[in-house]
């Protein structure tokens, strides 16, 4: 029963996205998608802009907040497991050709006002959480999985993956082509230089660069700052 229900949902999704997915703006595509995609998505806020050529797979597990922008060539894939979830909160902007894939029993959560640049990849199967107002530049990769390769006699592809999960806290800026490895937490307000590969946790308000990424500076002034001042940021 459950299976036939999910099959019907998938059929509905293929039909709706197939019919409306490629309608350009001049043919009222974004308006129609804003109205009719409601029937296939888990949840959809107000005035969402979905450009033509956006691919949504497993739409019944995708939630879009008000004012979300999805540009041409974006692909969001929540297929693969019934518990998969992709949640974009209010005002998130996802640029062209970004690929967000949940894969297996994964929740990908992107909080309010975050920007994801051209051609970035975000993938499970570990959970990924990106905080408020983050700036993720083009070509960055956030992969909550690492291949195991302990056994030299087996194919690496056959040895499974880790899925510890990645957390990027509020107000972080990741430069062009930054890679974030599975299991990493990047603290609030951190800046990661272009081309860096983040393999370990980064404390809040750090500036980290290089491969592997090393903290070279803190954004906080030398005299200890009143912690309540920093709390203001989360209330804004």
């Amino acid at each position: 029963m459950k299976k036939s229900n999910s099959k019907f949902k998938r059929f509905q999704e293929v039909l709706v996205t197939g019919l409306l997915g490629d309608l350009p703006t001049i043919a009222l595509g974004p308006k129609l998608r804003n109205l009719i995609y409601r029937s296939i998505l888990a949840n959809m806020g107000k005035s969402i802009y979905i450009q033509n050529g956006v691919e949504l797979l497993g739409a019944s597990n995708i939630k879009l907040g008000s004012g979300v922008h999805l540009f041409k060539g974006v692909r969001m894939d929540a297929l693969g497991h019934q518990n998969n979830k992709i949640i974009l909160e209010e005002g998130v902007a996802i640029e062209r050709n970004v690929d967000i894939g949940a894969l297996d029993n994964t929740q990908i959560y992107i909080d309010k006002g975050t920007f994801i640049g051209v051609g970035a990849c975000v993938a499970g199967p570990g959970n990924v959480k990106i905080g408020k107002r983050c700036l993720i530049a083009a070509h960055s990769g956030i992969f909550a999985n690492s291949h195991n390769y302990a056994d030299p006699l087996k194919y690496i592809a056959d040895q499974g993956v880790t899925c510890k999960g990645i957390t990027i806290e509020d107000d972080c800026w990741l430069g062009h082509t930054v890679t974030v490895i599975d299991g990493v937490t990047i603290g609030k307000g951190s800046v990661i230089g272009a081309g860096a590969v983040v393999t370990k946790d980064i404390p809040p308000y750090s500036i980290a660069v290089g491969t592997p990424a090393r903290v070279i500076k803190t954004r906080l002034p030398e005299e200890s700052i009143n912690p309540t001042d920093l709390e203001i940021i989360s209330r804004n």
């Binding site: 051209v118 070509h139 081309g195 954004r219």
Partner: protein, 240 residues
């Protein structure tokens, strides 16, 4: 003033209708020929023998200039919207591979000179001005961003602290490897080679080989020879 606005609105409508009607006609069905024929009326300039594959997106075409023999492959996006003074100029014989993203943003002039090659999925974005010289080779996944976020104030969101816009210059005959990043304010001298994955944060003198994050000069292509004499001898060779 209002008539000026009406003209620009009319132009925008013309652009939208033409690009939507023609952008997706497959190249095999004389799509490229049709596109170059009709696009001529909406671009600032469009040279001879231009080849534009299907699903290439152009936005604000009256500010985009394309030279002779330019090739633009599938999925590229060239966007000059955002400011009336924006301009994107693509020189003769430039090759733009698939999925390339070029955007002016705000009061920006992006100039790509003749015979330069831009590899797949490269991103080039203002709002600082960008100039790429003649005969350059820019490999796949590189990013040339003439903007940097300010983040001096830890109690304000980085996204709200504004950006720099100093501009980027890449001189003639440079080769950028795969996944190279160029940050705002950098000038790369003539004939430089930048290794794959490098992040260029400072000016690079002409004929250098630079690698790493941040990119450091590891070699000179002309050894100890005086630069002036060397370029003179090259010029002589070219003339001969």
């Amino acid at each position: 003033m209002s008539s000026k606005k009406a003209v620009s609105k009319w132009k925008r409508l013309q652009e939208t209708v033409l690009t939507v009607m023609l952008a997706n006609i497959p190249t095999k069905v004389i799509g490229s020929k049709l596109r170059t024929f009709f696009y001529r009326s909406i671009f600032a300039g469009l040279g001879k023998d231009v080849y534009i594959q299907d699903s290439v997106e152009f936005i604000n075409t009256p500010k985009i200039e394309i030279g002779n023999g330019v090739q633009i492959l599938r999925g590229s996006n060239i966007n000059a919207i955002g400011h009336p003074k924006n301009k994107i100029s693509i020189g003769d014989g430039v090759q733009i591979q698939h999925g390339v993203d070029i955007r002016a943003l705000n009061d920006t002039y992006i100039k790509i000179e003749s015979d330069t090659f831009i590899g797949p999925y490269v991103c080039i974005a203002g709002p600082g001005n960008i100039k790429i010289g003649k005969g350059c080779l820019i490999a796949a996944h590189s990013g040339i961003f003439a903007n940097n976020h300010n983040f001096t104030d830890p109690v304000k969101y980085i996204a709200k602290q504004g950006i720099t816009r100093k501009g980027i210059v890449i001189e003639d005959d440079c080769w950028l490897g795969h996944g190279v990043t160029i940050t705002d304010g950098v000038t790369i001298g003539k004939g430089c080679v930048i290794g794959a994955g490098s992040v260029v944060t400072k000016d690079i003198p002409p004929y250098s080989v630079a690698v790493g994050t941040p990119a450091k000069v590891v070699k000179s292509r002309i050894g100890d020879r005086e630069l002036v004499n060397f370029t003179d001898s090259i010029a002589k060779k070219l003339v001969d």
